[in-house]
Amino acid sequence: MTEKQIISKEQIKKTAQLARININEQEEEKFTKEIGAILEYFKDISEVEDQEIEKIDHYDLQKNQLRRDEAREKDEEKKENIRKQFPKRKDDYLDVKAVL
């Protein structure tokens, strides 16, 4: 007996790739079942009819709040505290593997 699954193992595998998370065979199985159950449970929402309503903004955030595009952190110690957390560092640079 085959049931049409709401999400397949292939889709989970592909989605995990998109999310940049390595998952093993066991996790693939588990997540397919669990995420499938969640999507199944909540699938009725796609049946809710669209309605024309007035948008409610509970505050008057009509304008974007802007600031100047300039670096504001001048404190050397704070900057160093950030650099200290770099997993790999070279002088004051963050050392990363080649992107291209």
Binding site: T15, I35, D50, H58, K78, Q85
Partner: protein, 478 residues
């Protein structure tokens, strides 16, 4: 409690150092059983307490929260201290800046005694998803304290801290408050700055107090509220919750949602809520049955939108700038930058986090975006509209906080969906961006233990005063 402690400090009945030591000792004595704390800030707390004592001895005035210890959920950044989100990926992360709320509390010389345990990245309803330890409920150590702010709730309920800050995205302040028998408040979205709160779902997250009394919640809310230029979703508000706090029930219109009092609700919890409703009526409140036509979809909206926002927010945890990184390991298998992402995130995230990121990524992906994410956005607006309509008829909505009292450790870990259903009453406040409070409503006897049961009040946008005042009436009358 806070006012009493403040008076004692002012009158020099106790010093801030003595008070802080008292709590530090309690932590040392009880936390090995409760596991509420991930880190204890002994030295810095005592140093700050000594500074406050100096002020007092000079005859200077002190603010109401000044010199009083408090605990912070470990997803709130305190500069120079570990902020782990109870995750391996941030196990050694030292926050380089203070959260907006921390800045405000530092201004009034609050004493931070430590960081409390949570479900990893605030994802969970039991604190069992912490990568480090499982916090126990002080009322029954075989049971969960709730989540995700379980450590904070247990700390306050267990007498390890006079008050604490937690965060609430789908109920994570209110549900543990209910399970642990303390007061927990989630403010209106936009009331309190999220700057420095490790983001989970940006249109749902709010920081709020866990306290021993409604008055304490008002005091803390006053201290942490307000516009923060670093959080564009905060709004300038000028309200003084403590000043305007008074117990109010007569003439208040309390809405009861029929859909919430039916199936799935534990009979004993139902009885407690019904008794409260009856009592409120006897004190002059008007009880009105209200209809929220789309409320049955609130869970769906939350469990589709929240993971989508989570997948976006947690993309920054990539092993590059900070946190656990495969690139930094001696036996690293990573050959290129993509490998670093894949391996760091594989190692650093627990299963619930991975599950929600994958679910969220799927919901946002081409082909499914319209049916799930876009639809959830629309239904969210419908739910907000439903609430707007009923708030023309009622002042607040009264519900149980959770369908059951605290469950046993391990009881709901097999099936994630079952865990999600404990949020059924709390999520609607986050979905509609409304303020919500849980206060102790009674208790249920399980064996030799008495398990707290919380009742929840949801208020109109910006109407924390009303839910505080009505809560205080319940608190004083019961």
């Amino acid at each position: 409690m806070i006012k009493e402690l403040h008076e004692k400090l002012k009158n020099k009945e106790i010093s801030s150092v003595e008070l802080t030591e008292k709590y530090l000792n309690k932590i040392e004595e009880k936390d090995k059983n409760l596991d509420a704390f991930l880190s204890v800030h002994k030295k810095s707390a005592l140093k700050k307490a000594a500074e406050v004592d100096q002020k007092i001895s000079k005859g200077e005035n002190i603010e109401i929260l000044e010199g009083i210890p408090c605990a912070m959920k470990d997803n709130i950044c305190i500069e120079g201290r570990k902020t782990t989100a109870a995750s391996k990926i941030l196990e050694n992360y030292i926050a380089p800046y203070d959260a907006g709320v921390i800045k405000k509390l530092k201004k009034v010389n609050s004493i931070f005694i430590g960081k409390t345990n949570l479900d990893e990245f605030a994802m969970g309803a039991s604190t069992e998803n912490s990568a480090f330890k499982v916090t126990k409920n002080p009322h029954d150590e075989s049971r969960v304290p709730g989540g995700s702010s379980g450590g904070a709730a247990a700390a306050v309920a267990g007498g390890l801290a006079p008050w604490a800050l937690g965060s609430d995205t789908g109920g994570s302040i209110r549900q543990p408050a209910g399970f642990c028998g303390v007061v927990g408040l989630k403010p209106t979205y936009g009331r309190v700055s999220r700057y420095g709160l490790l983001a989970m779902a940006s249109s749902y997250d709010q920081i709020g107090p866990l306290t021993n009394s409604v008055e304490d919640a008002a005091i803390v809310l006053d201290a942490i509220s307000g516009k923060d230029e670093k959080d564009n979703t905060t709004v300038k508000t000028e309200e003084y919750f403590l000043n305007n706090l008074k117990p109010e029930l007569k003439g208040k219109k309390i809405g009861v949602v029929k859909e919430f009092m039916g199936e799935g609700l534990d009979e004993k919890v139902k009885k407690i809520v019904e008794e409260k409703i009856k009592w409120a009526k006897s004190k002059g409140a008007e009880i009105i049955e209200v209809n929220l036509p789309h409320i049955s979809q609130a869970m769906a909206v939350y469990y589709l939108m929240m993971p989508a926002e989570v997948s976006s927010n947690l993309a920054r945890l990539d092993g590059i700038k900070y946190g656990l990184s495969d690139a930094a390991l001696k036996d690293s298998q990573s050959k290129n930058i993509l490998d670093v992402y894949f391996n760091s995130r594989k190692m650093g995230f627990g299963p619930e986090v991975k599950r929600r990121i994958i679910l969220g990524t799927y919901v946002l992906s081409a082909g499914y975006y319209d049916a799930y994410y876009k639809k959830s956005q629309k239904v969210r607006e419908l739910i907000k509209t439903d609430f707007k309509k009923i708030f023309d008829e009622v002042d607040v909505v009264l519900t149980p906080t959770s369908p059951t009292p605290a469950f046993k450790i391990g009881e709901k870990t097999e099936n994630p969906l079952e865990m999600y259903l404990s949020d059924i009453f709390t999520v609607s406040a986050n979905v509609a961006m409304l303020p919500g409070i849980s206060l102790p409503g009674g208790s249920v006897e399980e064996g030799s233990k008495k398990l707290p049961v919380g009742i929840q009040l949801i208020g109109k946008w910006w109407d924390e005063q009303n839910i505080l005042n009505i809560s205080q009436a319940f608190e004083q009358g019961a």
